[in-house]
Symmetry: C2
């Protein structure tokens, strides 16, 4: 079977159970970040890697500064989804012999600016040649307090579902310039008990079912309520991906206080209740939500 | 300027000084692994990433099990060079839509076997499509006691230089099956004070000058003393690379005891004194040592 027929979810589902794992791993492959016990601390060590590939995540003619920025920000968006604080990054740059030195310098400048935005140290750099498209892979290590880490799996029936910002239309360059919602996520877990959270990288239609599956619940979304970017349609918001906004589940008891305090703290960033979690038995589930799936 | 004219050393030298770095970074980009302070511990958190690229590090027709094995073992060889204990790994797999599912499964089986060999947990997996050659990138996190970590930079004038195993001839498949010298390295730092160490991935002719430069010393090697693999020439041993043996510097006062104890502990693995460190002013330095350089 070829990979494009298999799809990333099924591919990972088939590989993950066989990966070696020790007892000190609290959350391994399958969530946004890996969480591993930090000997005698109340903190988890948090690990995440992600990559951008020429022709897949960016076009050859894209501004190299933007490409470097995006390469760093993608794994950081997973830190936001976990409410973790990123601290250290390793870079792997795979480019052909024909690549201009100036392009590589701009990539690194973009990476460095993005790292500096969150006080992250770049502590390692590898380079390799290739005969194919350029690849920039970024691995990030950091921490999260045990009491503040948020997984995909903690959602409960009746939880309200919120998204930050607006969805859809990221293809028009914004996907290269986004700022992960780390500040917002850290504020959220400082002030509220979130039950589950994920970042919207593959689109609401792919990421919401992931959160629901991990939490063993269903969901009910009012599509008319989705916060849309200018010129984006509801379908764009569901299937385009690359929004890098946060989707989280919280007890409905806290919703009013959350919305009031959010408006005061982040007056320019919308926070929208888009629906709620329901029992898995209810069938309204994934009725028409379908998102971008790798290899499809 | 194109990258192939620049060379990896100069490329990194040009990029590294501009990378953001916080005070908690003890050794960042430029050594085998990054060492970062582990809040209130006597241990460093150790981070390293490395990749293998189809057509560069392995041939398309290579056994996928071997390729997965090698992809995991390469960063582990840097852990050996630092005398660090690897614990957690993240995998990034970049393959074309045409790739057979079976090939991917074998890659993961190779990665998992290699991880299990050193009790490492694979805590994350990312996949991406590409129109080009396959890439497998592996990031590893672990620790090292402050008193046992070994950098490239601690070599002193008059130190003896030792290499483990035999050099040259790795191209003939052995480079896909190597076992990083982690056990040997941990034994060395438990019993001896090593001044500097590096793993021989790019060949003695490239890696020894790196250790000497980092230590601000010169070196004097007796090429006739190099321990050669069967059918390998002295030139192979100097320039082929992919030996993944350890090269380290130790006070000559400890050499005799080291050699005696080593023979008892590792009777089947040679340990060879190949030369010593000398003042930088002495010119015999890099006379005819030239190794494999990326982009050349």
């Amino acid at each position: 079977m070829k990979l494009r027929e298999l799809g990333e979810n099924r591919l990972l589902a088939q590989l993950l159970p066989h990966l070696p794992s020790e007892r000190s791993v609290f959350a391994g492959a399958g969530d946004d970040c890996a969480l591993v016990e930090n000997r005698r601390g109340r903190k988890f060590l948090v690990l995440k890697t992600d990559c951008v590939v020429e022709g897949v995540h960016f076009l050859s003619q894209a501004n190299a500064l933007d490409v470097g920025w995006k390469a760093m920000m993608r794994p950081l968006s997973d830190f936001a989804a976990t409410s973790a604080v990123p601290q250290f990054a390793l870079i792997t740059l795979i480019v052909s012999k024909q690549t201009k030195n100036d392009w590589v310098k701009k990539i690194y400048r973009g990476l460095s600016r993005a790292a500096a935005r969150f006080q992250i140290s770049i502590v390692g750099g590898e380079t390799s040649g290739t005969r194919g498209p350029a690849v920039i892979s970024v691995s990030v290590a950091g921490f999260v307090e045990r009491s503040r880490c948020v997984l995909r799996s903690g959602g409960k029936i009746d939880d309200d579902l919120f998204v930050t910002g607006r969805l859809g239309g990221a293809n028009r360059r914004r996907h290269l310039r986004f700022v992960p919602r780390i500040e917002e996520s850290r504020w959220l877990t400082k002030n509220f008990a979130l039950h589950a959270m994920i970042d919207l990288s593959d689109g609401l239609g792919a990421d919401l079912p992931r959160l629901a599956r991990a939490s063993k619940v269903g969901f009910d979304i009012d599509k008319k309520n989705l916060p849309l970017n200018r010129a984006a349609t509801i379908d764009d918001a569901i299937s385009e991906g690359e929004d890098y906004e946060l989707l989280f589940a919280i007890s409905p008891r806290n919703s009013a206080r959350l919305q009031m305090n959010w408006r005061r703290k982040f007056p320019r960033l919308p926070l929208t209740r888009i629906g709620c979690l329901i029992p898995q038995s209810a069938i309204r589930n994934s009725q028409s939500l379908s998102g971008y799936v790798h290899f499809k």
